[in-house]
Symmetry: C2
């Protein structure tokens, strides 16, 4: 019998909520012929300041594929596929970095910008609705909690590996 614990409840709820939000997003973005991942890339190229990626590090130059891979936590090979779809749709374009010819910088086309703007109202509608009923102070505290959890996961990798070992050892 597994015990009730507030910590595990939190983790499960985060999963559940993210899952549910993703489904809602899928519904919206399907209408404009995009998947959630493709749309996330557009949001990155639109320099959405609310993306954790932009809070973690500053970016003055246009993003490249490997940075997107980093932020979305997927492989570069996967990003290549996603990008080629967006290129075909004419929503983004690529140009080669002049200083480092390995790099390709990605930017939104006029059509890409228009699409991002067009989807803003329904996206913000859902977001505002979700968090209405809480005051500014509560929302701020909530965000800090999320960010604190996140930085623990990102900065202390060795610690996490030690938990994995608990499992490996049990195998013997």
């Amino acid at each position: 019998m597994i015990e009730k614990s507030i910590e595990e409840s939190i983790v499960m709820s985060i999963f559940d909520l993210a899952n549910q939000l993703k489904k809602i997003g899928d519904d919206v973005y399907q209408k404009v012929g995009l998947t959630t991942q493709q749309w996330l890339i557009l949001l990155h190229l639109a320099n959405n300041p609310n993306l954790p990626f932009f809070k973690r590090e500053k970016h003055d130059k246009a993003l490249m594929a490997s940075e997107l891979a980093d932020s979305l936590n997927v492989t570069r090979a996967n990003i290549t596929n996603l990008i080629s779809v967006l290129l075909d749709k004419g929503l983004i374009k690529q140009y080669e970095d002049e200083l480092d010819r390995r790099k390709k910088r990605l930017i939104l086309t006029k059509e890409g910008i228009a699409l991002v703007n067009r989807t803003q109202p329904s996206r913000l509608g859902v977001i505002k609705y979700l968090t209405e009923g809480f005051n500014e102070e509560e929302k701020k505290t909530f965000l800090l909690f999320l960010e604190a959890c996140m930085s623990k996961l990102i900065n202390e990798d060795e610690k996490l590996k030690s938990f994995h070992k608990l499992l490996v050892d049990a195998e013997d």
Copy 2:
């Protein structure tokens, strides 16, 4: 230029955090030959009281596939596939409901129970580590926030559809 907003930051952070946690879970469960989805099914069959599903509704009888589909927010067809893997691995078993012969009830085998118990330490390790540094009061508030968001998404479907309309209308 998209504006900074605490509400959008919250939603983005939830996505990011869930994503990161899923990756960590994947690493752990890969070691025992399971995927995250399969492992989530095991947690359901172990009646983990921290799953949002069990907080939303009581279940005295063993779960069936359609209830899992509900909780994981996927189709029944998908659950059929996941279950057949777990059956092949001998981690779960099925029996027919005597009162309603359409239904099949799912339970863990002895091996399934052993696996859940074996993965508990590393799972709880990550979870406790993640939330350490916050006091009980803060954790409680955080969980309430998550649950409040969740119930909004679940109970007020028509409201969400009205946001979708903002997009459809803009298409014309």
